[in-house]
């Protein structure tokens, strides 16, 4: 076999044995590298495996092809095709047992010598061995030998036989009469038995692929092609066959044999081997000459709802099992994706496993799935109740739950939205209260000033205090005492507005925090209430609140102690009280208690202990700042705090930024941090429809939230959101995209109702009209000709009212009758964009529940399959 490349064959039944054939046959056993004591003959194949040479057979020179007997017994029987066309049965490493002995050495000799190109054992009738030969004049090129047949001298050819037997030592082992002769006047380059029927043999002939049927040898099915080399059947899909020609692989489907179903990208060098992976569906490995890579094609049929026949997706990739050039490779028959590769020179072997591609998919509902080989991993968010408290849920889960509880839709009691969101998120609570107060103020201002104050309200405290002017300074007395404080307090209209936005004071000219304190007491926020009271210079009230807190149910008795400490307040600068309080206050766990003492012990104008206590709510610190910082200090502090909030993406900062560009910046870092596009969308929609909503980031959040709702199949929620959005941002309302025009007059049937707004009103759905002068809903309002009929009920279609552009206002006015006017969805027009047949939506839906084809007879349109989402049902209740 001079100059021939080596080849590898795996034993069909021993998963640890293979044969390498180049100039001789070598049988190897593969095993773990460390298992046996490393014998000198062991060749390492990989980090884990090594091969041991078991036997060598060099009895058969000029080998062209080898095939391993497919049955268990005799176990190591090989057929060798030689350059002169003879096929010899031989064996490797076998003790001479009886079954094998008869067969080994048997020769099958064609009438005319020529190269034997290929051999194939019949997988079922294992006595049959097909040999493919070169062309010789009018002789046959496909010979099927019966290995069990005996030599029987025929009288007609006796003369030649005598001469022959002088050459061959043992004539009883020579068979010259094949069982079948096929492919006359042709050459055969490759062969394989078809798995779908063991009587069928596929042969790559000189210029065609032919299927021979042993039951009727005079007939053959063939197709002209150049791709005739290396025919091989996909073991997982018995109608799929691969063959190649030079650098190109053709994939055939035997059911549609006229042309290849697909051809793979052509390689610059000629191919030498093409093999289907026996352990994995649709994986084809190819090898080209002088190459050190094996190219893999992963062919997967992915079912799609559109159409019945789809081209398979092919994923091409290369693997490099070893450094040297590859002579040949062979897939392991059972071990997944494993192959042994032999180098082109020196018979260097490598044991190699093709690593499966990993594919990964996120579902829209937090579960994650990845697949590798035959393993599929599903990763679901742990929804166990006990753990819920410890681990925060994924934002997608949260948003889903919030969408279901109609989060964001409460437009009156805006603050309630935080309860809809679960009520346990401090930032959301703060955000929705901010928005609530802004809304309140805006409405208030609107009534009072009718000016453009609304934009001021929504522009945030940062902008409000900047414009502050006419600040007055006052020194008030401690409430209930005549002692004047040395604490200056500042007042202005803007500061007042800011305090309102902070929620400390409610509307009205009187600056009274009493309402606020009461609501805090109601929520048992004793410390906070005490602090607010103190900042309003009412120590007595603060002590009173603390006492109340201590006596309340589950109250903290320490509050009494704090109240006691508070009551000892003295403004003596160097008193013991002051000294102790300023040092011990840091040990107080509650931030509000802490800042109370910080306030009492600090110098006027230097309230860093209060202002920079980060665990105190932003609104309280800002309110404090608005009361006690001067015009010079206040904007600086607010700016600093704003930047801090923006950087952290803290929603409490919306109070400062308002719904401005700054607010969008803040929201951006919040979304970056949390991914909560839901809150971002709802929040920004509250803003003025001007600049903020036009910001591409805002549009992006809104679109993403809509997509998310669609992905969850929350179509009703999506629609609700769109309605909500349309109310707040009329520019987002899409224009009508579809018009139904009358077949007769060509006018839009919905348009014409704006011309005649009274028509059809008050009619029943199918338009039983009492008066002939009024047109029915089932006829065109323009020309009064009937509208098309439903393909199922054969009634004329038509719905009482179609909303049309330009009549939006009138719709609002007749809002009372809207319920009656809007037709049920079941009565809507619907039609297939492909075949243009249609009918009432309800009828169509019920038809396609049981049918795939269009209800119109003789129309074979698969209307519903064309609608990829048509078969999905919404996962939210309407």
């Amino acid at each position: 076999m001079s100059g021939s490349k080596p080849d590898i064959l795996w034993s069909p039944h021993h998963p640890d044995r293979y044969v390498i054939c180049d100039s001789e046959l070598g049988l190897y056993r593969i095993g773990p590298v460390g298992s046996a004591e490393t014998k000198p003959g062991t060749l390492p194949l990989s980090e884990e495996t090594a091969a041991t040479l078991l036997a060598i057979n060099s009895d058969t020179p000029y080998m062209k092809c080898v095939a391993w007997y497919p049955k268990h017994e005799p176990e190591c029987l090989l057929a060798v095709g030689q350059a002169n066309g003879r096929v010899v049965l031989t064996s490797l490493g076998q003790s001479h047992n009886s079954t094998c002995k008869e067969l080994v050495g048997k020769e099958f000799v064609p009438k005319h010598a020529r190269q034997c190109n290929t051999l194939a054992w019949n997988p079922v009738d294992s006595n049959l061995l097909a040999a493919g030969l070169d062309k010789h004049r009018a002789d046959f090129s496909v010979l099927i030998w019966d290995i069990s047949s005996k030599f029987t001298p025929e009288t007609s050819v006796a003369a030649e036989k005598i001469r022959l037997s002088s050459v061959d030592l043992d004539s009883s082992t020579v068979v010259t009469k094949p069982l079948y002769e096929l492919g006359q006047n042709d050459a055969c380059l490759s062969l394989c038995w078809l798995l779908r029927d063991p009587k069928l043999l596929l042969a790559g002939m000189h210029r065609n692929l032919a299927i021979f049927d042993l039951r009727n040898t005079s007939q053959k099915t063939f197709v002209n092609t150049k791709a005739i080399q290396g025919v091989t059947v996909d073991p997982h899909f018995h109608d799929r066959v691969a063959s190649f020609f030079e650098g190109q692989v053709a994939i055939w489907d035997l059911r549609k044999f006229e042309k290849p179903v697909l051809t793979l990208t052509e390689q610059p060098k000629p191919l030498t081997k093409v093999a289907w992976c026996p352990t994995r569906t649709g994986l084809l490995a190819t090898l080209t000459r002088d190459s050190n890579i094996i190219r893999l094609y992963d062919m997967q049929h992915t079912p799609t709802p559109i159409g019945d026949e789809t081209e398979p997706t092919i994923i091409e990739r290369s693997v490099q099992p070893c450094e040297s050039q590859i002579g040949s490779f062979a897939w392991h028959p059972s071990s997944q994706n494993r192959m042994v590769v032999v180098s082109a020179a020196n018979r260097v072997m490598t044991d190699f496993t093709v690593f499966e591609r990993i594919s990964l998919a996120w579902s829209s509902t937090t579960s994650l799935m990845w697949a590798c080989g035959r393993h599929l991993y599903d990763c679901v968010e742990d929804s166990a109740e006990g753990i819920e408290s410890m681990i925060e849920k994924d934002i997608a889960t949260k948003m889903r739950q919030r969408a279901q509880s109609r989060y964001g839709h409460d437009t009156v009691q805006v603050w309630r939205n935080h309860l809809l969101a679960g009520g346990n998120d401090v930032q959301l609570k703060s955000l929705w209260f901010d928005l609530y107060y802004m809304k309140q103020c805006a409405e208030d201002m609107e009534l009072k000033l009718q000016g453009n104050k609304q934009s001021v309200v929504y522009s945030g405290i940062k902008n409000i205090v900047k414009t502050s002017s006419g600040t007055t300074e006052s020194r008030r007395c401690w409430a209930g005492s005549d002692r004047p404080t040395d604490v200056p307090r500042y007042h202005s209209e803007e500061r007042c507005l800011a305090l309102r936005l902070c929620g400390w004071i409610s509307r009205g000219p009187d600056i009274d925090v009493e309402t606020f304190l009461r609501s805090l007491e109601q929520e048992q926020e004793w410390e906070r209430a005490a602090a607010v009271s103190l900042f309003n210079l009412d120590i007595r009230r603060a002590i009173q609140i603390l006492n109340k807190g201590a006596t309340a149910e589950k109250g903290d008795l320490n509050l009494n102690v704090v109240a006691m400490a508070l009551s000892g307040y003295t403004d003596e600068k160097s008193s013991l009280w002051r000294e102790m309080c300023s040092s011990l206050r840091l040990q107080l766990k509650n931030p509000y208690l802490c800042i109370m003492f910080a306030f009492l012990t600090s110098e006027p104008g230097a309230y860093d202990g209060v202002l920079y206590e980060s665990s105190v709510a932003v609104r309280d610190r800002v309110a404090f700042a608005c009361m006690f910082l001067s015009d010079a200090q206040l904007p600086r502090y607010i700016d600093k705090l704003t930047n801090e909030m923006k950087e952290a993406g803290n929603l409490e900062g919306i109070l400062l930024t308002g719904l401005t560009k700054d607010g969008v910046d803040l929201m951006e870092s919040y979304v970056d941090r949390t991914g909560d596009v839901q809150t971002a969308s709802f929040c920004m929609l509250k803003g003025s429809p001007g600049d903020v909503l036009k910001d591409p980031r805002v549009q992006c959040w809104i679109e993403n939230y809509r997509n998310l709702l669609d992905a969850w199949r929350f179509w009703h929620k999506r629609a609700e959101f769109d309605i909500h959005r349309g109310k707040l941002d009329p520019s987002s309302k899409p224009l009508a995209q579809v018009f139904v025009s009358c077949n007769f007059c060509g006018k839009s049937i919905s348009y014409s109702c704006s011309a005649m707004p009274h028509q059809g009103r008050g009619f029943s759905q199918y338009g039983v009209s009492g008066s002939p002068t009024k047109s029915k809903v089932t006829s065109c309002p323009g020309c009064r000709k009937p509208l098309p009929r439903c393909a199922l009920c054969l009634m004329n279609m038509g719905t009482p009212v179609s909303n049309c552009p330009g009549t939006g206002k009138s719709d609002e006015k007749v809002g009372l009758t809207r319920e009656n006017k809007l037709a049920q969805f079941n009565n809507w027009f619907t039609w297939c964009h492909n075949c243009r047949h249609g009918g009432h939506a309800g009828h169509m839906l019920s038809w396609f529940r049981d049918h795939t084809e269009c209800p119109v007879s003789a129309c074979t349109c698969k209307c519903m399959q064309l609608d990829t989402t048509g078969n999905l049902v919404p996962s939210d209740s309407s």
Binding site: S2, G3, A138, T176
Partner: protein, 328 residues
């Protein structure tokens, strides 16, 4: 049946025995280093008189210009008969016998000169390129005519010659040239192109250095022993015709010896060089053989023609042919 008109444009040349050394470089390249040339059709036949070379135009470039080389002026095209595999009988006669009546006789009837080259694999009928319209006209009734263009087989269009031909005269064709039958027996064989390098030196020896060796042998053996050797490499297939003694020099299992292992005797046609213009010589020989259903190979050379028939049939062949010639 299909008749393929191959795309090779062939030249037929004769190299004098004395001039062979100036050509060996080119010939070795054509015979053993096929990958180094673009030649697809090469045949070399040694007879006692000369070396006959049939080679396509690409291969012809490898040969030098010399007074020792004479080239037939025409360009030749090779025809090849491909019979559909419909007939399952395996006992078809091989060689020219099969095509004697269908191809060779009609061409002879139309005065078309043919040049035959039988190989192990098939039979090539060489016709002059200028005769092609006539050939196609003659054979179109019997065959599906296909033309090979750039390796693709396409239907050949009749070149539009439909009339103006002399009605063929269907006269008996007597054998007019003297026949001789050398005593040695021949093998028609082949070998695997992969094994060619391993026997290249042996083949070179047989091709180019047989003259000196043969001299003493010829004197001792009977004078009818003939020196004849043919090598061809056509589209990757090797064909060899050599006498039995030469086959002994090859290692076992290299040559394709068929299961039946036939040997062939030669019938040599012509007393003096036959030239290229005379028609009907092949027909004269092949028709009687076809009638008797005797398989035969036929190899034309620059000067003479050679038919190979099974050894066991030689007497009946000689008998049949003698009858033809005496019937004259």
């Amino acid at each position: 049946m299909e008749l393929h008109i191959l795309e090779h444009s062939l030249k037929v040349a004769s190299i004098e025995k004395e001039g062979i050394q100036i050509c060996t470089h080119g010939l070795i390249k054509l015979a053993f280093l096929a990958s180094k040339t673009r030649c697809k059709f090469f045949s070399l036949t040694e007879t006692p008189e000369d070396y006959t070379i049939i080679v396509d135009e690409e291969g012809f470039k490898e040969l030098p210009q010399s007074e020792h080389i004479s080239v037939a002026d025409a360009t030749w095209l090779a025809l090849n008969v491909v019979s559909g595999g419909g007939n399952a009988s395996s006992s078809q006669p091989i060689g020219v016998t099969k095509i004697a009546k269908s191809v060779i006789a009609p061409l002879a009837d139309h005065n078309i000169s043919v040049f035959m080259l039988s190989t192990y694999q098939t039979d090539f009928i060489l016709v002059r390129e200028r005769d092609l319209p006539m050939v196609m006209h003659t054979l179109s009734s019997e065959f599906t005519l296909l033309r090979v263009v750039n390796g693709e087989t396409v239907a050949a269009h009749n070149l539009g010659v439909t009339n103006g031909f002399v009605k063929p005269k269907l006269v008996p064709r007597p054998i007019i040239h003297p026949l001789s039958s050398p005593s040695n027996m021949f093998c028609v064989t082949s070998l695997d192109p992969d094994t060619l390098p391993s026997v290249a030196t042996l083949l070179m020896d047989v091709m180019f250095y047989s003259g000196g060796q043969k001299e003493p042998g010829a004197s001792s053996e009977d004078s009818s022993h003939i020196r004849f050797f043919s090598f061809s490499l056509i589209e990757g297939y090797i064909s060899l015709v050599m006498d039995e003694q030469t086959t002994q020099r090859f290692p076992n299992n290299v040559l394709f010896t068929s299961a039946s292992g036939e040997l062939w005797k030669m019938v040599r046609i012509g007393g003096q060089p036959l030239g290229f213009d005379e028609c009907g010589i092949v027909a004269q020989i092949s028709e009687p053989l076809a009638t008797a259903d005797i398989p035969a190979y036929y190899i034309s050379t620059f000067k003479f023609d050679h038919a190979l028939v099974p050894e066991e049939n030689i007497q009946s062949v000689i008998g049949a042919l003698r009858t033809e010639s005496t019937a004259q």
